[in-house]
Symmetry: C2
Subunit: 346 residues, 2 copies
DNA sequence: CTGAAAGCGCTAACAA
DNA sequence: TTGTTAGCGCTTTCAG
């Protein structure tokens, strides 16, 4: 009735626990015959090492390297919190994180990743800003037994073990489904994006386009505007948009720069008249929900993403839990009612 | 640089680790003077016992009693899965759950709870179907040091340590916010509920009413229908509703019986014409999302509720983490796009 | 009232 | 190739 341990296996195999240990860990200095016998018994007993005992005994710490951007703060601060909160729950299991952030997405990340590998990490958690440039590094790391988990955005051509993210296509698609319920049939809407060169923005835009065609009968996407991640540019482009298209019913913003759009709408007294669906959530957006300028926002839960990725890596490295090749987070819908429940609003 | 342990404390206090242990655990057989000295040193060092070592050493298992309903299956099966999944992650810490389900909400739960208390649990996780009847039992248990966590619905007048739930008022309020964006100004809508005698249904109904008044200018709630948790009754009442109120724009259903409403709407070819916002999620609803009969559903994430409650109890009982007096789960919005990501659809 | 010592299940160094 | 043994940090029992 008690969970079997090394002693039980040793007893059944008629050997000592030292030998059992060697067999279980594939260490040298044991005959093929006894190893196989021991492994068979272990499998038969469904032996699972006691994690607490292992953690207590092994001096070997599990090191997980973390390389995520510092900016944009509202997003990555949450992700970091999720990572460290979860890490703390595993420190009794000997999990320790080595933190090497980059300032902005993609800036000098190759260097940081190399540093982490030199620090001897067994796991790597990173937001790949330039997936192409990172691909060979990631693949080489995996080849050497370092498990890498991509978060938020993927490096699909690399050998990374897993990715934790919100599917950007689905993200845009959900925005479109919402939008199509907010505007009448045959409505005209616009998309404001960051840089279409960014995979993430491109896919969200694509998802929205497909979804809007699917859900809004006779609807049209008038224009897709690239604001290049500039607040000033976003504002001017929004003004121009409102000026040039008088029949506009909705705007979907999939970049972080939604505040300039809100400002433009509010200046023209269009809150609630033109439906605005945004992406992500930060403190300053709150006001625009209350003013009914933003109808809804698609939330990617950076805290949960970070937490999940770290948990997957930690449990894999500590207990050998298999890593799923991808873990998709459910995109949330933020509305005024639920605003107070989000961490970002605290 | 290493975390301080009992040995370090003993060394500094000039006593043995046995004495330190007695002081730390408030056990008898130690002088007031040495106890205070030891506690001071411990606080000074910010001593935290190593959870792995504690789990390994202590024979004492942490028992958590679980009393949740078996029906309605789609909801409580998920909750149970969340509870047991999380419990498995704590079994190396000596956490074991004693499972004493009731068949339906509130049926014979007092008896089951008594059984659990007699089994010597230190924690209790339960869905109180009849909070009033359970209140004295809960309070007495707490008085004897048993921590009780209510899930999904509260026993607010008892001394329960914590509750994990979606605020039902907010739940209804969110439904109203959504509905008001789906229907035009001045729209007429109806509410179909289970039993207004049930606190949960009453509050959701109230939340919706308040929210709809707030968000839908000139809107009206024509009627609040009680279907008494009967599918047949739901169907007939829905038919009558559609017959009697020709100007109806939307229906909010906060009971599990949304399928009869869908059927009534589809028979009259009103999918998408009359907006339907429901509560919760189960397999058979899928079809009605695809048919655009259901516009959105408010999701209470029973898996997450169960998981969270068990985690709070386990970490409190094992490591002394403080219990928050309430933990509110964010109500989710289910739409067609995200349907495949929900456990319920697997 | 306090100290010493035996484990909990596992790893790893050291003997044989 | 295999067995023995000393801890990891804590709890608990048994002596003093």
């Amino acid at each position: 009735m008690k969970r079997p341990g090394v002693h039980e296996i040793a007893r059944r195999a008629g050997v000592s626990i030292g030998t059992v240990d060697r067999a279980l860990h594939g260490r040298a200095g044991i005959s093929k015959a006894t190893r196989e016998k021991i492994l068979a018994i272990a499998k038969d007993l469904a032996y699972v090492p006691h994690p607490a005992a292992r953690a207590l005994s092994a001096r070997r710490n599990v090191r997980i390297g973390v390389c995520i951007p510092r900016e944009i703060h509202f997003f990555y601060d949450q992700m970091r919190a999720g990572i460290f909160d979860e890490a703390r729950r595993h420190d009794s299991a000997g999990v320790e994180v080595v933190y090497r952030p980059v300032v902005k997405l993609g800036e000098g990340e190759a260097q940081k990743v190399k540093e982490l590998l030199e620090a001897g990490v067994q796991g790597l958690l990173l937001v790949p800003g330039s997936p192409e440039a990172l691909t060979p590094i990631i693949s080489r790391a995996e080849d050497k037994g370092v498990r890498v988990a991509c978060v938020s955005t993927d490096a699909p051509r690399s050998w990374r073990s897993t990715v934790v993210c919100v599917d950007p296509l689905m993200n845009g698609h959900l925005a479109a489904e919402l939008m199509s319920k907010f505007v009448p049939e045959g409505a005209h809407v616009a998309i404001l994006t960051g840089m279409l060169g960014t995979e993430d923005h491109r896919l969200k835009t694509q998802g929205f386009s497909e979804g809007f065609a699917e859900y809004c009968m006779g609807g049209r996407i008038l224009t897709v505007i690239e604001a290049h991640e500039s607040a000033k540019e976003s504002y001017h482009l929004s003004r121009a948009l409102l000026r040039d298209y008088s029949g506009l019913s909705g705007i979907y913003v999939n970049t972080v720069n939604c505040l300039p759009v809100c400002r433009a709408l509010e200046e023209k007294n269009l809150s609630g008249k033109i439906k605005l669906v945004t992406t992500d959530l930060f403190r300053k957006m709150e006001l625009h929900f209350y003013r009914n300028t933003i109808q809804a926002s698609i939330y990617q839960d950076p805290y949960l993403q970070g937490q999940t990725a770290l948990r997957l890596l930690a449990e894999h490295l500590v207990s050998g839990t298999p890593l799923p090749s991808a873990h998709y987070i459910n995109p949330g819908v933020v509305m005024e009612t639920t605003l107070p429940l989000f961490r970002e609003m605290q």
